[in-house]
Symmetry: C2
Subunit: 198 residues, 2 copies
Amino acid sequence: MKIEFWFDFASTYSYPTAMRIEQLAASNNLKITWRPFLLGVIFNKQGWNDSPFNIYPAKGEYMWKDLMRVCEDLQIPFKRPTIFPRNGLLAARVATRFSESPWVSNFIRSVYSANFEHNQEISSPDIISSCLDCSGENVGSILDEAHSQASKDMLREQTDEAYKRGIFGAPSLYVGNELFWGNDRLERAIKWATDEKA
Amino acid sequence: MKIEFWFDFASTYSYPTAMRIEQLAASNNLKITWRPFLLGVIFNKQGWNDSPFNIYPAKGEYMWKDLMRVCEDLQIPFKRPTIFPRNGLLAARVATRFSESPWVSNFIRSVYSANFEHNQEISSPDIISSCLDCSGENVGSILDEAHSQASKDMLREQTDEAYKRGIFGAPSLYVGNELFWGNDRLERAIKWATDEKA
């Protein structure tokens, strides 16, 4: 049984999910499909040219406070980034192109930590290179590959697929045809997957 | 220690919270302040002339499915209303004017059940009269009072207060100056209140 994890590197509530999902899935004998996409493209289709947390300030202020409490409760380190949303395009291309590489989950967590724990600029190739150190691979080759037309197309197609499947926010979790939205639904999605398996 | 429950009778996720909050609060020795308001007025200020669940269909479709699962998990009966959002103005005026009456919590649950369990038209004075049967009071007098200018003003002022305090959705829970948004945060708000008390 598989659980699809759809995420965007700029998405705030994707952060606690990204930090938890691998361990939770493993302890329930579930496999994860890593599905990065560009949430901004989907927001554009809804008529937003920025994160709704910036467009609607009351909602945004609440979100930062809530996310702080959520991370505290889950004992996940958190520092509010000074820039939001950060551009996660390069990271998303790497994660899409190498979604089945054994190092991809470490890379994904490393990018989220850079953004939401260390307040680092994840659009910078230097930062992404550091995040790739854990791969044990040639970082330059990975970045070259991420910049290729094939990788760009893969991410574009994956974002189209997210939109077509009714994804409207991140994190989103798919178990078969069942959608679960938000870090608050991670446990419910895992339970759905284990019930389906049973 | 008190917990303020801010709600709108048309709001979908306010339904499971309304059905649970009194018992949860009582078992934690917390008092509830019942705070009806008009979410539509706040949505208007954000530029929406309808529920975002109608404006953004993918989000809406997901919400109905998610709400069904949430109610199932909580063992709260649920049937998707054929009209959404229903006009809860009259019910909100009653609940605002009589927010400290001993029967108000029964009335509130009765209106939510009418809308989200029995698919009844809660804008109808007949339906609201039935929901008031539990009060043991003279229903005609209550409705007259709800239609008074004073009751209309009370609800308008309460909605203004919601907006000024940064409420952007429902249900919202305030514990002192701490805001919690959504049925998913009811337990966290209760915990906050009991921690504050301790």
